[in-house]
Amino acid sequence: MTAITSPTAPQPHADLDPLTDADFRAAVRNWIAASYPQNLRSPPKRLHAAEAMPWYRILSQQGWLAPGWPREYGGMGLSPSKLLIMIEEMERYGCARLPDTGLTMVGPLLIAHGTDAQRAYHLPKILSGEIIWCQGYSEPDAGSDLAALRTSAVREADQWVINGQKVWTTLGMDAQWIFVLARTDPQAAKQKGISFFLVPMDMPGVKVRSIVNIDLHDEFAEVFFDDARIPADAIVGEVNEGWTIAKNLLGFERLFLGSPKQSEGALGHLERLCDHLGKSGDHASLLNGLRMELEDHKSFYTSFADKVRRGERLGPDVSMLKINQSALYQKITDRIMDVAGELGTLAGQLPDTPTLYPGSVFLQARPTSIYGGSSEIQRNIVAKQVLGLGR
């Protein structure tokens, strides 16, 4: 990468979209280096909302929390090209992932489909960090087959009454509100009878229980609705339009499910592990082969990112990027366990080297081929929608 000159520090809430890409990158890079809380750099686990809040507030004060939202709603109004730069620079520095569901999902949802009142109430609270959101999609019997969901919303006078259960709700224990897909027409074809609701989690009839993941981290939760009564205006969009709205929400964010970041982090881990064991020479060929695969994946990623930069819509072929990313990530973590030997059996970080935690890295790589559409579902999508192999 070419040397980066030092521009003047960007003012909070300034419009940065007119900058050249190079100047913008430099501004972002310098600002992150000056502003990011050092104790949160490259955390070994997904941070809880309370842990991530210092960084959330710093971004909030700078006006950089919602790079993709239009400026009139308090976002940065960045073009896709600059948005990608921003994300690349954050990944590069090892910035922790925020409890970002409100920023990446609820905000764009309300901007596109919400009422003025919904926007006026919710958007400022997302931008201030007052309300953290979580997503109520999956259910015990509706995972890959999400449209089979059974949580119901029944209209009674000026209220909707919600009953059912959501599961795999990331950071569900940390959130104050949840957006829920619920069935509003049990007679309709399964995608056609679903609506989209906004539900506060501290109301009667809503209960949350945390779920400990395979890495022993309470990262997600299950949420129960037992006659939870929400006002009529808690629906987003029209009744029975929820499925279409949810599908439209999956815009270019799908690109990030295939980001090389996780594989890059894992390969860095493997390289440090080899160094730690004094075995970099022994494993040179292994490391080199994986490095080439990672660089190839970056080329693959760039070919899709370029589409986003040109303002094109991503097609179903972007699923291939996620399949390849998760496979490479898991291949690298397989090798980490192989190289670690007995060190791979230890729970948590290595006692003498806390930056190494081989067993955890391996376990953390498991869900990438499951969440956001499993690799098998992604292959179904590509087979049918790209290759034309469907019925």
Partner: protein
């Protein structure tokens, strides 16, 4: 498809037109009977088609116009190589181009016009990208040996390449002998033995010409696997077993997706490699990535394509086998996947 290898709108349009114009000579859906007809014959290529190729201005595509070339770049060359690869043409397009690149302004006009086929002889080991020494020169005559000269029986002139110089020799000159062996794809390769052969000395080879040949070969492999996959997809949609097209079976669908991923990866890496080459930067690392990926991917795709065809895929009669056999010949040319992985590792550690 190949057009996606270029970046920038104007360039992309130029490449698109070039690829369109290639369809007359190297059609993606053409009948493969003429290709079959030339298999295992000598010289194993069609001089008529060679004349058409030169008439299209493909020879010397990267040479500057002052040297009689077309003055185009790697993006255009790679796009054409991809079409030649997809059409399974036996003509030594990339080898002739390598000779022209190595000769530069010294390239004889007959080579550019297609009247004389000049083929390079650069190897003494099976490591496809390693220039050899071992040619001795005395009073304008050279002696020595070169191995693995593709399509040598078709050459009018050889460009003998050594680490310190290149020499032009007439293929029929006294002291030239060829030991020809058939290759899997129906072409051939030869050992060229030189015993006091009258030679015209040219300057030392520019190693970048070999990088271009490696990238063009990767691109030919991309075209080849794209077409093999298209044929296979058609088969999956039309072959009926258990009362349905076999492409309805999920086990086959998922394998087909993995083939598409390999093709997509190859295309993405090649695009980056071609762009790097055209900027004039050191492109050896990314060339190695492109050639390694293309070789591995082409083998995976063509092997799986045969598997999807079932027993018919195992016959000589089925065209799909032609793609596997050509892939087996192109995969190691200008360096196998293993060779390029090793080179990449060496370059990363800063070895020259």
């Amino acid at each position: 498809m190949a057009a996606a290898l270029a970046t920038g709108e104007d360039r992309l349009e130029g490449v698109r037109l070039l690829v369109e114009s290639a369809a007359g000579i190297a059609p993606r859906d053409g009948d493969l009977k003429p290709v079959r007809h030339l298999r295992f014959g000598r010289p194993g290529m069609d001089r008529g088609r060679w004349s058409e190729i030169s008439a299209m201005g493909w020879l010397g595509i990267r040479l500057p116009e002052t040297a009689g070339g077309a003055g185009l770049g790697m993006a255009e060359y790679a796009a054409l190589a991809s079409e030649v690869g997809a059409a399974l043409l036996p003509e030594p397009f990339i080898e002739a181009q390598l000779a022209l690149d190595l000769m530069g302004k010294d390239a004889p006009a007959e080579a550019l016009s297609g009247d004389k086929l000049v083929l390079p002889a650069w190897l003494d080991t099976p490591d496809g990208l390693t220039l050899a020494g071992g040619i001795t020169e005395a009073e304008g005559r050279i002696s020595g040996r070169r191995r693995f000269v593709p399509m040598a029986a078709a050459a009018d002139v050889f460009l003998v390449v050594s680490t310190e110089a290149c020499w032009l020799i007439d293929a029929k000159a006294a002291g030239v002998s060829l030991e020809i062996e058939s290759t899997l794809d129906g072409g051939h390769t030869a050992t060229l033995i030189l015993d006091g052969v009258e030679a015209k000395r040219l300057s030392a080879p520019d190693a970048r010409a070999l990088e271009a040949a490696a990238l063009a070969t990767a691109s030919a492999l991309l075209g080849l696997m794209e077409r093999a996959f298209a044929i296979t997809l058609d088969y999956l949609k039309t072959r009926v077993q258990f009362g349905q097209p076999i492409g309805y079976f999920q086990a086959l669908q998922h394998k087909a997706v993995d083939m598409e991923i390999e093709i997509g990866l190859t295309r993405a890496v090649l695009r980056d490699a071609v762009e790097t080459f055209d900027t004039g930067d050191d492109c050896r690392r990314i060339t190695s990535r492109a050639k390694a990926r293309a070789a591995d991917a082409a083998m995976l795709v063509t092997r799986q394509a045969v598997q999807f065809h079932g027993a018919i895929g195992y016959t000589d009669e089925a065209d799909i086998g032609l793609f596997l056999r050509r892939a087996m010949v192109l995969a190691p040319r200008y360096g196998s996947a293993g060779f390029h992985r090793q080179r990449y590792g060496g370059l990363r550690e800063g070895r020259p």
